[in-house]
Amino acid sequence: MTASSHKLWRFHGGVKLPDHKAESTTEPVAVAPLPPRLILPLRQHIGEAAVPVVKRGEQVRKGQLIARSDTYVGAHIHAPTSGRIVLIGDQPVPHPSGLSAPCIVIEADGEDDWGDSRMPPIEDYRNIDPVKLRNRVRDAGIVGLGGAAFPAAVKLNPRPQQKIDTLVINGAECEPYITCDDMLMRTQAEAVIAGMHLVRRALKPERCLFGIEDNKPEAIRAMTEALGGEERDNIRIVAIPSIYPTGGERQLVRVLTGREVPSEGLPADVGVVCHNVGTLAAIYRAVVLGEPLISRLVTVTGSGVNRPRNLQVYLGTPVADLIALAGGYTDDVERLIMGGPMMGFALASDAVPIIKGGNCVIAARTADVERPGPVMPCIRCGECVKACPAGLLPQQLYWFSRARDFEKAQEYSLFDCIECGCCAHVCPSNIPLVQYYRFAKNEIWSQERERRQAEAAKQRHELRRERLEREEREKAERMKRKQATTQQTTATDGAEDPKQAVIRAALARAQARKADREAQGTNAAAPVSDNDDETR
């Protein structure tokens, strides 16, 4: 069986890359054993960090909620196994900065016991109510498993004015080395298809398009078989050309539908919602089996490990454990990468855990990553322009970033750069172009932050000045009123000197207070009372 014929569009640029996928697909998927300690970062994607709902020393069941996020762009975190919370505090996390961040650390008890933590399975899932589905996806803490880890429930909730006519399912897996989606489609095609039906319930699109790169014939076959003869016209498994970065959301939408997602918009703006195949399988498990997102498929590969393979991994498992399961490092391992080789980031240590968005770990040797020569000046060859899938002029952005001319960089659409790395890959001068763009973006962000802070400070200053002026004014008015009343009394008293009158009044008040104080007892210290003179 082959994929259905479907009209395909092209996106500008992109590069053909050696795919390095065969290395990790020869072995069947294995389940990684339960590690003794699991490290769960509280922040695993953009948006707010989750807030712990457990205490140190507390016993938790598998699947129990341990940190919750009540913001819209947030996802709960669940215990991947049963055990004891041994630490809530900073641990090294998989992040480009290489810094530590708040985590919950669970010491596994080895029972892997669900207790009563499993969510009630929904048997009749084909007729599930969309609201119930969204809540379940949210309760299960599901995020996009393609790498970006955007909370999935948000993408099941289109705004009312947006008509979603196409559900695009991303099985492209365009980055070299990564094969976890490939293996998932080969081995769990039914779960992916069931997940797709669930998402259809929520979005009610007219058609569903699976985009799978044509370098994965087995996955395409498995998916086509699992789909069966069902609604062939509305649901299509489409083989797309293997051109990096065709699995980028915007690129995939373009290839499958011919529509261009607006520069600062979302696919929903052109009637499309895009979900990753792994996310669909996770949604299926959450709904039908009642399992929150506590494990995922991870590719452990690269020429720096002895036995590249795919593993079903408990979230929170340290990368070092996975490396051991992949036969350990080779002697000449040079770099450890989380994610793909084009957009992933280098890890400073293998002590960091696998998180929800962690699809791949690559151990690379020098020959795989080394630049073939020194960094040379840009010769304006324009290869980067040809390769840029965003239609930018990378070499101009490079000049502007280098010259710190950020205004010009923005004028040349710096923020449309998706950091796919195509430009750097084709650059004959070996210029680390993406690094320059990140630098420029960060500088612009921090300038923006500073500007906003300065503005806030200015506003505070203005408000304070206004307040002081108001107080001054009010004081002056009070004075005037006071003077007016005194003059009135003077006028009625006739001959008496106004100054004498004021003194007399003050004396009378002081005497009255003294009498008051004596009546209450001498121990009542009220030194401040002298201050509430009305004239003040």
């Binding site: 520069s263 070092a320 084009m342 280098a346 795989d368 040379m376 060859c381 070499q395 890959h425």
Partner: protein, 348 residues
């Protein structure tokens, strides 16, 4: 285990500057061999001399500027600039002309602007134009392919001619030199001779001039190979030769007795060499895809204009330099459309 971290991407790039330059040099070999065949050893001596001078100037300037020698000496860009200069000058050009031209190209046109990647003008063409204007007599010493074939100057004889300015006994410069077909055409048309008559002279072949047309064809072979290897883009050569063909064709159709045919234009002088090897110099050409079409078409049009109405018989060097000047403007107005935005740069 701890690792060093780097910014993505983590895949080794596929190209390098010296590979690009190296492929361009390889592609020059057929045309250079053809030139040697028709014009004798002088061509090879010139190439070797120019390359040596270019490398020496490059090294000197790198030292003066306090830059590391290794990545730049081996990037082959100096070799290419010297080589292209040598192909532009007459085959028995005195050594000091090459020295001045290449020296000017490397020192003034390349390094004083910041070296590789920073020169707004094509260095080889700057050097060529300097000697063309400064030493007009020496620059007209083009040989006649038919005479050279008969005389067959040996390597030592060519060497003596270039370095000592002496020809073998019994030969004079007048005997071996001849105006180029482009020169003959311009002079003939200037004297109001009809082109059909001009072309009856034995210096003209089927396409352009005798010998010259074959040299052009061999440069074309190298150029097409570069296109196939995607070392250069198609825009500049196609636009340049297209514009030249179109304009010359138009005027030729109006009056073939005063205006030479498009075939003659394309296969004479440096049109093909210029289209594939000179105008495509990435550093000094436009970088946007549409910009390259405009740049190439501009070069082609200027070549025709200079050849037809200008003071020089050949205009490739001037045309390239004039268009180099336009590059910032062209690049500014030909930015590609950003994905997800309209052509005007707004949200699409």
């Amino acid at each position: 285990m701890r690792f060093k971290t780097f910014s993505s991407p983590h895949m080794a790039p596929a190209r390098s500057v010296n590979r690009v330059m190296g492929q361009v040099l390889l592609a020059l070999i057929p045309g250079t061999a053809a030139m040697t065949w028709y014009f004798g050893w002088g061509v090879l001596i010139n190439v070797s001399l120019a390359v040596t001078v270019a490398l020496a100037c490059e090294a000197l300037m790198l030292l003066v500027r306090g830059r590391a020698l290794t990545p730049h000496i081996t990037d082959l860009s100096a070799v290419l600039a010297g080589w292209l200069f040598a192909l532009a000058v007459p085959p028995l050009t005195p050594w000091w002309v090459t020295l001045v031209g290449v020296g000017f190209a490397m020192v003034m046109a390349k390094h004083l602007y910041g070296g590789l990647g920073y020169n707004p003008f094509n260095p080889a063409m700057v050097g060529y134009v300097v000697v063309l204007i400064s030493f007009p007599r020496e620059m007209t010493l083009w040989l006649s392919p038919s005479v050279i074939a008969e005389l067959n100057l040996s390597l030592p004889q060519a060497f003596t001619a270039i370095f000592a300015g002496r020809l073998p006994d019994g030969l004079t410069w007048d005997m071996i030199t001849a105006a180029t077909p482009l020169d003959r055409m311009q002079t003939g048309v200037g004297l109001a001779h009809p082109i059909s008559e001009i072309q009856t002279s034995p210096f003209f072949g089927y396409l352009g001039g005798v010998g010259w047309e074959w040299i052009g064809l061999w440069f074309l072979v190298g150029g097409l190979w570069l296109l196939k290897r995607r070392v250069i883009g198609w825009q500049i050569p196609v636009a340049m030769l297209g514009a030249l063909t179109l304009l010359s064709g138009l005027f030729w159709l109006i009056n073939p007795e005063i205006y030479a045919s498009p075939l003659f234009h394309v296969f004479s002088g440096a049109a093909i060499l210029g289209a594939f090897f000179i105008a495509t110099d990435p550093v000094s050409a436009s970088t946007t895809p549409r910009g390259r079409l405009i740049f190439g078409a501009g070069v082609g049009a200027l070549v025709f204009v200079i050849r037809t109405w200008g003071g020089y018989a050949e205009g490739v060097a001037f045309a390239v330099l004039l268009m180099n000047m336009m590059v910032p403007l062209i690049d500014h107005y030909t930015q590609p459309r950003v994905f997800g935005k309209t052509a005007a740069g707004k949200e699409g």
